[in-house]
Point group: C2
Chain length 679, copies 2
Amino acid sequence: MADDLASSTSHTLVLLPSGRRGAVAHGANLLDAARALGVELESICGGRQTCGKCQVSVEVGTYPKHGITSADDHLAPVGAVERDYCREHDIRGRRLACAAEVVGDVLILVPEESQARKQVIAKAATERAIEVDPAVRAVYVEVEPADLGSGGGDWERLQAALQGQWQLRHLRIDPFALRQLQPALVAGKHAVTVSVWQGREVLRIQPGYAEGACGLAIDVGTTTVVAHLCDLRTGAVLATEATMNPQVRYGEDLMSRVSYAMTEAQGVERLHRAIIRVLNDLAEGAVAAAGRTLEDVMDAVVVGNPIMHHLVLGLDPSGLGAAPFALALSAAADTKARDLGLKLNSAAYVHTLPCIAGHVGADHMAVLLAEAPHTSDPISLVVDVGTNAEISVGNRHGLACASSPTGPAFEGAQITHGQRAAPGAVERVRLDPATWEPRVQVIGHEGWIGADTSRPLPPAARATGICGSGIIEAVAEMFLAGVIDSGGRFADDAAGRSSRVRREGRGAAYVLIEATDSATGHPIVVTQNDVRAIQLAKAALYTGAKLLLHHRGQPKVDRIVLAGAFGSYISPRHAMVLGLIPDAPLERVVAVGNAAGDGARLALLNLGQRAEAARLAEWVDHVQIATDPSFQNEFVAAMGLPHATDAFPHLADFLPTSSRPSERPSQRRRLGAELSRKE
Amino acid sequence: MADDLASSTSHTLVLLPSGRRGAVAHGANLLDAARALGVELESICGGRQTCGKCQVSVEVGTYPKHGITSADDHLAPVGAVERDYCREHDIRGRRLACAAEVVGDVLILVPEESQARKQVIAKAATERAIEVDPAVRAVYVEVEPADLGSGGGDWERLQAALQGQWQLRHLRIDPFALRQLQPALVAGKHAVTVSVWQGREVLRIQPGYAEGACGLAIDVGTTTVVAHLCDLRTGAVLATEATMNPQVRYGEDLMSRVSYAMTEAQGVERLHRAIIRVLNDLAEGAVAAAGRTLEDVMDAVVVGNPIMHHLVLGLDPSGLGAAPFALALSAAADTKARDLGLKLNSAAYVHTLPCIAGHVGADHMAVLLAEAPHTSDPISLVVDVGTNAEISVGNRHGLACASSPTGPAFEGAQITHGQRAAPGAVERVRLDPATWEPRVQVIGHEGWIGADTSRPLPPAARATGICGSGIIEAVAEMFLAGVIDSGGRFADDAAGRSSRVRREGRGAAYVLIEATDSATGHPIVVTQNDVRAIQLAKAALYTGAKLLLHHRGQPKVDRIVLAGAFGSYISPRHAMVLGLIPDAPLERVVAVGNAAGDGARLALLNLGQRAEAARLAEWVDHVQIATDPSFQNEFVAAMGLPHATDAFPHLADFLPTSSRPSERPSQRRRLGAELSRKE
């Protein structure tokens, strides 16, 4: 962290998108400094300023959220070698990290191509049966030629043909499609293929017979943006592209972005343009991968949380930053892509699914479409964990939903060595119940790394931090092994029982990775504060689910759906050990990956799903759990780690029965062994 | 004209917008050469290359329609003095005429500010009673504040308020208006003024109570574009702006522009952008003059002939260049201004009135709205003369309309010394029946100029050419005086009777202005060919009217309406002497000026007029007179000048009764005297 007293010799360096930050010495080489903070940059020339692989963008300005409060002196000026390189290559205003010296607090954006370990994106369109009934339909018509005597123009004759041959009436036409009409009639000798949107508007006219219309289903996440290009006739996924949400430069978490929008001149416009630029890049990448053109993209569905939803539409999200969390728009909307700056077919619409409430957005609506808890009898609990958790509980007789203020701990934020689910992150953790020695899995490296692994570790096995699923497993394992008790406190004798437990500042810490095994040269630890942060987050999530069950008058859930990237990586057993989710048979807990993207795809390919979303937006019962009188009590009660078999009967088999798990080490050991066997 | 044999020493110089052209010597000074061709440029410094008033644009490229077939060597390179001037002043790529030497065929565009004699634009919005019921209505509403428990977003609450307080239902909202909603609610403390289009769409949201919405009524003529800025609440005309249609650089007449669109790469796009740029300039000028802003411009109505209509909408007019003259669109359209590149309020619509047929456009529809022949009993003949004449005949029981191929002679084209109605143009002509000595009026100079006028003439009295109304009066007066006979031939003894009549090439010519009195140093004459051109044009117009009367089963007209700038300047008596229009009591012949602009204003201010236009477009009977079997015979019969009292009873009083007017000079003299008395 920035040390104000020694600001002349030490500066704060923040690296995005990883979010890694730390103090670096004045004059430090940026490539080395990034590496020291666990951010490996590409480099082929080894720092000779000739390969250009380590290009980074310097974000000029102050970024209080990142601890950068002065806009002066970021990097030493460009030297002769770097200047020569830039003269010969267009590096678009970037710097070569290997040539740059840190001489002030600085925020560095590492572009994807410069990252030695590319970000892992868990999302890929799953195969599922969708009845293809898209908003845009292509029809082939033959149009009467004009003759001197006939009245009306080509458009009027096309309307007559569409009515006569396809029973399409009262059509309007996009002004850009109208420009295609006469040339298409000439080229197609009066036969044209017409793309009609919702039986209401002509979007495109091509000569003769034509096919190939496609559409984009886009999930704009706070961190990651995923786009699926689908064939609108077959429904097939033609390409899936994903990238980082570029708004992270304006704030890693959602509320920072709202604050940016509120306080910076043209903040909304900048955030809007940043996301639109990325959507255009994704669209371009997807059509290139699929051998289509942007003109072929006739439709798009975009989902996202309310803030992303607003920013995509260019709407100021300020109202979402504080009570009463007012949405500017909650209903679904069809907006011309061109009016958003999206470069699809010039007449294409973008459909945004409805938001349910100020904290329950179109992304959760998409998850509901994909998981359809409202169509069956079992009581489902659908959880999408991001910066906040969106929760729905119910069945076909009724669905209650809420947002639960979990905060960003599950995303690795507010955790001492927390980081995103990127290469180098610890994602799986096991503790030996007897010795408390850990085994871990690190993203980007195959297999378990434990005490018995040969050393020195290969670079890919060296952890840089702990991601969400890793911290959940770590805390759960620490509880099962007795490192911490059901109150979340380190056992009094913990430090005496294992050298893994050390004093750290005002509290204890568990050393998950020793300094010699980490990528940073520092130990990677789980502190008492980290355990508290996880307890707060899991209590919020659990309380939300419990209050919704209560609201629906249901004693228990039949099925738990964990959605989102977090949901796909989380271990359901560890989640239940922590009390993150209510009790349920473990085989009824399913991780469904990017269900929001799946829902967007459903809405793209099936008009009925859009109608269903509109109906759901009215039908779903949104509950303000934070203002529920019982929230506070329930929340406090949920802070502890599970110990009562009446609340978690399905854990009874392997959980300590007493309220002090540390008193029954044998049972905890049995559970640990059982979990290990299942890997 | 360009002399191919002497191309090394003489070049073609064409000056727009006046259309003046001629051969100039190699190396001629451009300022002097323009002056010699009758185009006076501003100049304060007298050619010292310091005042910069004589700036002109050089159009690079070939312009076969203007006789410019080589793209090489237009003007000699910029010299040192001009270069110094340009370095200190931003003259946007223009040249200083006083510094430029003509070294090749060249097309010069004289911007309005460089014209010493500004173009006269006859059009100004007339005052007339219009019931103000515009498409955009502003309503003030108070919106329920958001609260935590309430569902829906601000837009949903605004919808509820608009329904509850104004009975406005099923509204949609423009995406750009949506962006204004939340800030306006905050600034207006939940009270906002909402601009609603056609009771269907929200276009603008302003905090608190707001007024000031205005709209533009625009008539896009082939030569001139006129815009009236109107207050949408009071209907008042706030400002009227007019300018040259910049498309003249791509062709002075309509068919040249169609040909440009068909043959040049991106021709349509260029013509579209050129007109849109001018509409933006006019809009900017109008709001500045009225103290409003472009954001206040909430609506626009645009009318024009079918080719202008298509080019404003960005539609390819190629289909209108040849039979069957297919319109891309004939119905009225509402297009977002932004989709056309118009910088009005970001959500504003542009309404284009319907076209009736490939040659009878939205401008004629506007004339019909303004003159409303379809609402009364008398049989009206409504004529709008431009490059072609649009003619409607009928009353409330039926209306027949047609386009008549008059060609551009009435606009001064195809006439030896023809020019537009600009300063320097002869616009009124009287011939002494005895001496054949002329008196003329010249635009830009007060009063008559005759033989008895003191000499030398002041510069403003020196004519540069003859405009449409001038040529009509000249030919009619020549007929009345006996210079030409009813067949249009110069009298055999004409040259002997007056020195005004001379041999010119293969035929005779009447000298209207002697070389000593002209601005060009050359005599201004009316040749046998000019008389023939006027005869062809008037025969086409008369035949069109006659066939339409026949079509409606009417023997005669009760009322003649002459619309357009031409119509306002034409002398009804002389038109009837020529047989341009059918016989009618002279007091029932009215010139209504820019009726198309008036019609556009009606449609802007009154929604019912738009519905009426839609109804008329279906109801009016469009007649293809050029393919009518009797057209050819009628046309030939109409070539002569009127001599039969049965066809023109209202002329009987002062027209020769025999078929050879030259035989009855006394009667002709009486008519001439009578006409003079009425001035």
